[in-house]
Amino acid sequence: MAQRAVWLISHEPGTPLCGTVRFSRRYPTVEKRARVFNGTSYVPIPEDGPFLKALLFELRLLDDDKDFVESRDSCSHINKTSVYGLLVGGGELWPVVAFLKNNMIYACVPLVEQTLSPRPPLISISGISQSFELLFGIQDFLHLGQKNDTELNTKLNQLPDLLLQACPFGTLLDANLQNSLDSINFASVTHPQKQPAWKVGTYKGKPQVSISITEKVKSMQYDKQDIADTWQVVGAVTCKCDLEGIMPNVTISLSLPTNGSPLQDILVHPCVTSLDSAILTSSSIDAMDDSAFSGPYKFPFTPPLESFNLCYYTSQVPVPPILGFYQMKEEEIQVKITVNLKLHESVKNNFEFCEARIPFYNRGPITHVEYKVSFGQLEVFREKSLLIWIIGQKFPKSMEISLSGTVTFGAKSHEKQPFDEICIGGTAYLKLHFKILDYTLTGCYADQHSVQVFASGKPKINTHRKLISSDYYIWNSKAPAPITYGSLLLVRCHN
């Protein structure tokens, strides 16, 4: 259960190599074991240059996909996971765990403690999940609060030292790299016994606990008879516990109002010490009924020092917060659009912001717009072929607003206007972006009085709530739209 090597590669389309190795680390003692375990199927870790080239080719990130290349484009070359085989130096290096996130490619090669031919299933390779954790850990570290390239470079420069702590010999000891950074800084503190490995040092100061619930709501709305609209709430509860003592115990209860929507699919942080079976089994896979567990949801845990995600959940609320339709008709070089949005009466009508983005893909730049809005303002981004309808902080009393207009396009030039593989012909969407503070769609809240802390001193308890939109799509109802299986199924159930 170890890693042979790890890389960070920035993806730079348009440059000759299309990327640069920003960081790499090899583990020669693990490599030595790989040679023994893999036997004749052993392929050594290549140098950075050949690795970069082979990985970008396999991930289709080189700018040369003009021609059909069998080793990449063949129909039988099927990849169903983020694990790849790379052709390097006459052999195939496998398994290479790799993914692209924010223009950075995270990659590593876990040790496989057996022969690679025939390839064992990934599930039987203990190093695979460790690879993912290492890469996720690096990703979290690089992007936590990172604002610009300078900060990124600073963090990249810290990586060698951090990995020397967190993964000195290729076996990952802690995926939380921030923890390792702290442990370097905490090095002079005398550790008491039975200190958890995930908690370096102890907190000294005023006790306080902050709990913040963030719900994201996503939706796909079609305004069609044969396709059901779908929506889902995804919640994350983030905690920061500043408490004295080595292992303070905390219990947080999440509650719902009487008409609240039950929480489902609950995943908890590993620091949670026990879990009610009702929480463990409450799942969106089952049909909902009145007997669904509706809390309170108790989470006893021993907090780490840093801020962490206590739990994630999903929920199926009865109605989407904003219901709308979008009609778009093409007429030669122009399109006619009509949009109608209605805020549900149960939703708090007090937004931090609310806007609808209406992009036009695979067309030329906008040359002319004629429009009428019942509320808010429309901004036109001609070169990006984008309209933004700024709705603002509140819906009007009627809770319903509309936009209609005609948009004219110029000639298409491939370099500038956005290409989209979904929005072909009349297939189009508008996407809602909004945020409501001190509100959750499920009604879920953490009562200050329900927080139990077994530690010295009575802590101050802060709670926050917010609802934000995420992937909130309203599709053009006058053309085909991409659907999910759920949309088809729900209609059948309803009819």
Binding site: C75, P196, D265, L267, S274, L275, I285
Partner: protein
């Protein structure tokens, strides 16, 4: 070389990292390892620079110190540097320990004869047990981190040399019980325990109290290498805890510890598990894998010890933890997971595979785990991805593919959908509300629509073809899926012929279920649109793949129309490639005209030559032969001449090859009728032969030249009618026939073989006289008898008779030639010997053991032959 500055080192390290092999091949390469060790003791360099030098040695020891001796020297030097550090806090102690460990382990220097090993191991164990090693090892504040580091170093050494710490198990247990750092000690103990159990199980030995022996090896005393040596001093592929690996393969022979040992073992494992919550999630996962491995082969160690951990672990979103739970599931199955536990685990996995809070790579990994789920009672074949039995359509609802997915996500979910469709068919449509097959069809249509986008990225097309391939792979037996898929693909080709290479690739890889109908559909698609077209080269590429013997006139019509537009070499070659495919398919009619026309009208001489060659081949070779001559292995036409490439292919095929005799030829029973003697030949073959021609040559010109015998086909095991070989003797004499065979093999090669010579005996030339006039046979015979003299010769001889007597002898050998018979005592025999001789015999007054024979012939040369013949008769039987 003098001491280098920080900048010089930074530059040097940068150059090395850019390409280690290039740097080591350069002028500075040789000294790098030595310089690095020296510089670590330099007082001019900052600690930070020294740390970066050590970091390099952690990554590239094999380049810096390429053999065991160099590695040993390097480790010694690193240890020297370590003990020479002043007793103040230093950032170098930790990396020095790591570097010395790496040098020894990676450089194959670790062992009882290595001085550095003998120094490093006690040092690490001392540090790990928190002993005071004196001021040289830094201030007290560094002790704790160094203790953890020493544990890590020991763990790495144990990983590379299993059994190294077998003697320290008791010590490690007691340290874990005291105030030692929990995580490093837990992981170290778990690994050492696992390795010890594996080694002891292989050696069929018990634990021998290893778990309780608590003392440290005395400082400076010898290290116990026994177990490490028992492990063959080699790493062995470890026992995967996965059930797919056979028990024997995994090497974990079943170990039966004594009750006392079992109790100690349980205590040790419980001790590790009880404090496991103090470990980071990734370390917890490692612990579970190691303990799962360790206990799997042990009898009498119920895995219930793990049970209390499971509920806690099932609730988390942590990938390593859930993976470790799956490993336990695979290792222990029903012993640890009841049917309900299994169902819960499956639900949590299903949930994790689609939870919006988790990243895509995690979703895909969980999906993989679902399709490889270690079920308690698996039904399907092992080693193939299948949906677990409990994963019904309802659970899968959220796991089905959508066009909004990333390519790999789409393919992963599509695979699941295909598996459900396959199951669905088995259930014979129970009127279920949901119809996955319909959804599958719509999804594929959506993918094709995207692939058809002109100017769209190739990735979209690739995805569409990968999805089609996956569907065919899983659902090859379902016409309700394949028929719309075929039509859809044909429409896709119409919309975007530039995808031809993808179609060719797909046809190469799918079976006939899709391949056959798709070929037909694509051919029709292409030939129905003759004329000038931007896409001509794609059409020709497709045709060369799909053209077969069916509907050749439409294809030829298309080619004739296309020929006028094939103005450049590439197009002409593509066109001829289609002709080639037609030639192979045995299309003759119409193709000859086209080839002739091409041989005249193509602009490029290379194209004309190739067309002419095809025409000649078509005119001169029979269909099957042509098919073989134009074998499928034509390399891409060389840039200079397509003819050269083509020639390489069939030059061998068109030549006659010498081969060992594939048949046996023998002379069958005589026929003795007709105007000339005819040999009846019997043939046996060892392999199928076609177009066989047998050629005979008579030695010594005794007979007129013999005609060849032709047989269209000879098959082993199937009797063949006798072959007739008429002989035209110039003299009535026996002879040897030299025989050669020419034939075609099933592979289409023409071969030539020499067969063993065939003897023609004297009796093979016998013919009867035309029938004597009725009534006066005696007179006819006497007339012949008299006519032999005076030119001829007369003789008398004794013909021995076997036990069968005269009557049987005559019946067997001379019956067709008997003119007058008075059985059983008297026979008059008249034999015609082509070209113009006669032999007359009187066999009369036989006695017990022989018969006197009077014989006359008109050809004195026959006399000795006849004598030999008659004397040999009784022996011939």
């Amino acid at each position: 070389m003098g001491p280098l500055s920080r900048e010089t080192w930074a530059q040097r390290l940068g150059a090395f990292r850019a390409s280690p092999s290039a740097f080591m091949a350069g002028p500075e390469g040789e000294d790098l390892g030595r310089d690095l060790l020296n510089e670590l003791r330099s007082e001019k360099l900052s600690e930070q620079t020294k740390v970066s030098l050590l970091a390099l040695s952690l990554e590239y020891p094999a380049q810096l110190w390429p053999d065991a001796a160099a590695a040993e020297a390097a480790a010694t030097s690193l240890l020297d540097t370590l003990v020479l550090l002043p007793p103040r806090p230093s950032a170098l102690r930790r990396p020095l320990l790591l570097a010395a460990t790496t040098a020894l382990a990676a450089g194959d220097a670790l062992g009882p004869t290595s001085g550095a090993s003998r120094r490093l191991l006690p040092l690490l164990l001392g540090l790990a047990s928190g002993r005071d090693l004196g001021r040289g090892f830094g201030p007290a504040s560094e002790q704790r981190p160094l203790q953890a580091t020493a544990c890590e170093c020991l763990r790495e050494l144990e990983s590379c040399k299993p059994g190294l710490l077998g003697g320290c198990l008791g010590l490690l247990r007691s340290l874990l019980g005291q105030e030692g750092p929990v995580q490093p000690l837990s992981l170290l103990l778990a690994l050492a325990l696992r390795n010890t159990l594996v080694i002891q199980a292989r050696a069929r030995a018990g634990l021998q109290g290893l778990l309780v022996a608590g003392d440290m090896p005395a400082a400076g005393g010898p290290w116990n290498w026994t177990l490490a040596e028992e492990a063959d001093a080699h790493l062995q592929p470890q026992a995967p805890s996965w059930p797919a690996a056979e028990e024997e393969e995994c090497g974990l022979a079943v170990l039966e510890p004594s009750p006392e040992e079992a109790r100690e073992l349980r205590a040790a494992v419980a001790q590790l598990l009880d404090t496991s919550y103090l470990l980071t999630p990734v370390a917890q996962a490692q612990l579970l894998w190691l303990l799962g491995w360790a206990l799997r082969g042990l009898r009498g160690q119920p895995p219930v010890l793990f049970k209390p951990q499971l509920v806690r672990l099932l609730g988390t979103a942590q990938l390593t933890l859930l993976h470790a739970v799956l490993a336990l599931k695979a290792a222990f199955g029903e012993a640890l997971f009841t049917a309900q536990d299994e169902a819960l685990l499956l639900r949590r996995l299903t949930l994790a595979a689609q939870h919006p809070a988790l990243p895509l790579p995690a979703h895909l990994f969980y999906l993989h785990c679902l399709l490889n789920f270690p079920e308690n009672c698996p039904l399907g074949p092992t080693g193939e991805e299948t949906a677990p039995l409990l994963l019904g359509p309802r659970l899968c609802r959220g796991l089905l593919p959508s066009l909004l997915h990333d390519p790999s996500a789409l393919l992963a979910h599509l695979h699941l959908l295909c598996l459900l469709c396959a199951e669905d068919e088995e259930k014979e449509e129970k009127g279920q509300d949901w119809c996955p097959r319909h959804y599958l069809g719509e999804l594929l249509a959506g993918l094709r629509q995207r692939a058809a986008l002109h100017g769209g990225p190739r990735a979209l097309a690739t995805l569409c073809f990968q999805a089609s391939y996956l569907v065919v792979h899983c659902l090859a037996t379902q016409p309700t899926v394949l028929t719309p898929l075929t039509h859809g693909l044909a429409r896709l080709y119409r919309a975007r012929p530039a995808l031809a290479p993808h179609f060719v690739d797909l046809l190469d890889r799918v079976g006939p279920e899709l391949g056959e109908p798709l070929r037909t559909a694509l051919r029709q698609e292409v030939v129905s649109r003759p004329g000038r077209d931007e896409a001509l080269r794609w059409h020709l590429q497709i045709l060369s793949k799909v053209a077969d013997g069916k509907a050749p006139s439409a294809t030829l019509g298309f080619l004739r129309a296309a020929a006028a537009h094939c103005t450049d070499w590439g197009l002409q070659q593509a066109l001829l490639q289609v002709c080639r495919a037609l030639l192979r398919a045995g299309v003759g009619e119409g193709l000859a005209d086209l080839l002739q026309a091409l041989a005249r009208q193509l602009e490029d001489p290379d194209g004309r030559d190739r067309a002419r060659l095809y025409y000649i081949l078509l005119a001169h070779l029979a269909g099957p032969k042509l098919g073989v001559a134009l074998g499928p292995s034509l390399a891409a036409p060389a840039l200079t001449s397509s003819l050269v490439a083509e020639n390489q292919g069939f030059a061998a095929v068109l030549m006659v090859q010498e081969a060992p005799a594939p048949m046996r030829l023998s002379v069958g029973p005589r026929r003795a009728a007709g105007p000339v003697p005819v040999l009846q030949l019997q043939v046996e073959v060892l392999e199928p032969l076609y177009s066989v021609e047998l050629r005979f040559r008579v030695e010594g010109q005794l007979y007129a030249p013999l005609g060849a015998v032709h047989v269209p086909c000879l098959l082993p095991g199937r009797p063949c009618r006798p072959l007739h070989l008429p002989l035209q003797p110039r003299r009535p004499a026996p002879a040897q026939l030299a025989v050669r065979a020419l034939f075609a093999t099933p592979a289409g090669l023409t071969c030539h073989a020499h067969l063993p010579p065939l003897p023609v005996n004297f009796a093979d030339l016998f013919l009867p006289f035309p029938r004597a006039p009725d009534g006066d046979k005696q007179g006819f015979f006497e007339e012949l008898w008299d006519s032999c003299l005076p030119e001829g010769a007369e003789s008398r001889l004794w013909c021995p008779l076997g036990p069968q007597g005269l009557e049987a002898l005559v019946a067997r050998h001379l019956d067709p030639f008997v003119v007058v018979a008075q059985p059983p005592t008297s026979y008059h025999v008249a034999i015609r010997l082509p070209p113009a001789s006669r032999l007359l015999l009187r066999l009369e007054a036989a006695q017990g053991d022989g018969v006197p024979v009077a014989l006359r012939t008109d050809d004195w040369a026959v006399l000795p032959l006849a004598g030999d013949y008659l004397r040999g008769l009784s022996a011939a039987v």
